[in-house]
């Protein structure tokens, strides 16, 4: 078995006639944590959306291989079933659908795909209790409508709660730290760390080195104009915090 979880090769995509990703390469192995940083508008959310299978973006070149399978054309739900998870930068509200019902539907759909019986209510509830503890999700929120009327921080926590419930192979956290105070940040990071194993990997998209004190990355990538322009280790994040991105931008211009 190869250790490669996902491999992105020369990926280009566009939306509304605007090229966003412009030849992106990235390989992630099992057990790794990758951080992606980069200025606003550099394409971080686009990358996570495209990896999750959002077909609003037109892929004009390149490929995505997930667990040895080309998933470039695969539907979002099938990617999800195979272990892809995206914690959204802006989680969506779904009025009238309880968090619990939403997750049960998600799990059952996945089970159906794998030909497994749907999860018994008792086991499901037990799992909910366990996982919500892991991320310190307020008990009340489980029965509320998905993200409806949640505070920014609650939404982010709910994303990680869902992640815990779905136990993905690849989790992409898109600015999950923004909007969290330091205590919430610690709890969320702690939750993410507990879910880490040698079989899965995490991509952390963030602006702040702060989060990386808690979720320690093996690699830090800088994304600029739809391309990774620099890769380093954790120290790169510290450097970026001090110097900003401009020095890198000129670097590539040469």
């Amino acid at each position: 078995m190869s250790d490669t979880l996902i491999e992105i090769k020369d990926l280009k995509c566009r939306i509304d006639n605007q090229n966003i990703l412009q030849g992106l390469n990235l390989k992630i192995n099992k057990g790794e944590v990758h951080a992606i940083m980069g200025p606003n508008g550099s394409g971080k959310s686009t990358l996570s959306s495209v990896l999750a299978g959002n077909d609003n973006y037109e892929i004009t070149k390149g490929s995505i291989t997930f667990l040895g399978e080309d998933i470039t054309e695969m539907s979002p739900e099938e990617r999800s079933w195979k272990g892809m998870f995206l914690a959204f930068q802006y989680p969506v509200e779904i009025p009238g659908v309880s968090n619990i019902n939403f997750l049960r539907t998600a799990l059952n759909e996945r089970n159906k795909y794998f030909g497994i019986d749907s999860i018994p209510a008792k086991d499901f509830l037990k799992m909910v209790a366990e996982k919500s503890m892991l991320v310190g999700l307020d008990n009340k929120l489980k029965n509320r409508s998905v993200n409806e009327g949640f505070s920014g921080g609650e939404k982010k926590r709910n994303e990680i709660f869902q992640m815990a419930m779905l136990n993905p192979k690849l989790a992409i956290l898109d600015e999950t730290d923004s909007g969290l105070d330091i205590d919430a940040l610690k709890i969320v990071a702690n939750g993410v760390n507990k879910l880490k194993s040698s079989e899965n990997a995490t991509v952390v998209i963030t602006h702040y080195q702060r989060l990386l004190d808690y979720i320690v990355p093996d690699f830090v990538h800088v994304l600029h104009e739809g391309k990774i322009i620099k890769t380093g280790d954790k120290s790169l994040a510290l450097e970026l915090e001090k110097k900003g991105y401009d020095w890198l931008k000129t670097d590539t211009a040469i």
């Binding site: 739900e77 989680p91 779904i94 939403f102 869902q162």
Partner: protein, 481 residues
């Protein structure tokens, strides 16, 4: 995408209308056409008393002078009233004494509808009256209800066994002069359901009627009369299906509710008449007049889930006559393909301190048209009356239409009337969010729509909420665009 458009289409074609089967039962059908003789024939088939025949004939005279209404936001070919058979009864050899004697074909029909009477009896404790084409076929639980003095039977039986109640109340809420279809119904109605709850009695189970049009070339004209005597309570549900046919079938029903002082009636409808095919061919014309009248401190709640019919024209209403009476209207109306619905309610506040609530959730898909039309009228004497209306529309495509026509007439300055309306398109972001979590688009739509309609679905009796949810799912399959 692994789930191709083609697969989706195939699934759609297969699932389009689950209830579109025809039952092979011999029926006793009146010759087509409408004239005085037909009215007389129906009346005599039913062995009706003279006064009822006179009532029908008067209604028929009035109907002939009336014009089919055209103010609703619907377009359709007007039915040819001379090309319909006005009476069709499943043939039976003799009077039925018990369920065991019911035609096995008919029992099969009921089972296909998911309402095996036996099951209903055992499991949910719901008493069911089944009306096929025009005639009530079986009423379960009659004895048990009888012990409490509750009468629940077909309208024709009630005419024979409780003529005094029929005579006293029939036509008092919806007079035959009311509108074109009500007049037509009053002339040619063939059966329907009747229910009487005596003073102070809380009906211990849901009462339910299933209507089904089976024969081709027939119309269904049933009448429902429901009387809740002082301080009584009843929850009543009607369900409707019809086979898939190329022609347009006419359904023109009248429902009258009477809630006497301090009584409460909860009336729920799950309407799933055949909507026509995806090109707009066939489907039932559903032209229905439903109205209730409230006495002192009484309450009437209409809850409807409307997913079927090619054209719907329906405004379940409340006349809040008694002081402190309450009227409620909770509606989910789904239209897909070429369906058209013009539905809503009228809340007529007459008594003091009367209160009404209107929650309408329209869902339009395909090329359909979905209109809410409501009137809140506060009379001169309706001091301190209150109304709250909320009309939401959810659009699934760019080709469908949602319209809201709220009319308010207020003649008393102490009243408060609030109206809120929203229109939203089903969010691509919502769908993607669901799909990212492993919920397929179809399922996501059903989840989002059910969430959107939850406030209304929650008002349905438990036993039927699940059925209603399924219906929404089926009606909206492949509807996003």
């Amino acid at each position: 995408m692994s789930y191709t458009e083609k697969e989706l289409k195939k699934e759609l074609d297969n699932k389009s209308y689950e209830f579109g089967f025809v039952t092979d039962i011999e029926s006793d059908k009146a010759p087509i056409g409408l004239n005085e003789d037909i009215v007389k024939l129906i009346s005599s088939k039913k062995k009706e008393p003279q006064w009822l025949l006179n009532y029908r004939l008067k209604a028929f005279q009035i109907w002939k002078t009336m014009k089919e209404p055209d103010w609703a936001h619907v377009k359709y070919t007007k039915p040819d009233f001379q090309n319909i058979s006005y009476y069709s009864a499943p043939k039976k050899k003799k009077e039925l004494q018990s369920l065991d004697e019911v035609d096995p074909e008919l029992l099969k029909t009921m089972e296909k509808l998911g309402i095996s009477i036996e099951e209903q009896k055992k499991l949910s404790g719901v008493a069911v009256d089944f009306v096929m084409d025009s005639v009530s076929v079986a009423t379960s639980f009659k004895d048990k209800l009888g012990e409490l003095g509750i009468v629940f039977c077909s309208f024709s039986e009630a005419v024979q066994n409780h003529p005094e109640l029929i005579k006293k109340y029939m036509g008092t809420v919806v007079p035959y002069t009311d509108n074109y279809y009500a007049a037509l119904n009053s002339a040619v109605f063939s059966d329907g359901s009747f229910c009487y709850i005596p003073k102070g009695v809380r009906c211990p189970m849901e009462l339910s009627t299933y209507f089904r049009i089976n024969e081709s070339g027939t119309g269904q004209f049933e009448r429902t009369l429901l009387i809740a005597d002082e301080s009584s309570y009843v929850s009543y549900l009607e369900g409707c299906t019809a086979p898939s046919r190329d022609e347009n079938q006419l359904h023109a029903a009248v429902v009258e509710l009477i809630a006497l002082d301090k009584a409460e009636i909860k009336y729920s409808t799950v309407q799933n008449w055949y909507p026509g095919d995806k090109n707009g061919k066939g489907g039932v014309y559903n032209f229905v007049t439903k109205r209730g009248i409230c006495g002192y401190r009484s309450k009437i709640s209409w809850t409807q889930v409307e997913t079927g019919s090619a054209v719907t024209w329906k405004y379940p209403s409340c006349i809040l006559k008694g002081d402190y009476s309450i009227g409620e209207f909770y509606s989910v109306a789904v239209t897909n393909n070429f369906q058209q619905a013009d539905t809503g309610t009228k809340m007529i506040h007459i008594g003091k301190n009367t209160k009404s609530t209107i929650i309408s959730k329209g869902i339009s898909a395909g090329k359909s048209q979905n209109s809410y039309r409501g009137l809140v009228k506060i009379g001169k004497g309706a001091k301190n009356s209150r109304n709250f209306s909320q009309c939401d529309s959810l659009l699934m495509t760019d080709q469908c239409g949602a319209h809201t026509y709220p009319y308010i007439e207020c003649e008393n300055p102490t009243a408060t009337v609030e109206h809120e309306a929203t229109t939203s398109k089903i969010g691509e972001e919502q769908l993607f969010y669901c799909m990212q979590r492993g919920i397929s688009e179809e399922k996501a739509i059903s989840l989002i729509v059910n969430g959107y309609a939850k406030e209304v679905l929650n008002k349905l009796p438990m036993e039927f909420a699940v059925e209603a949810q399924k219906l929404l799912e089926i009606s909206l399959e492949g509807s996003v665009g």
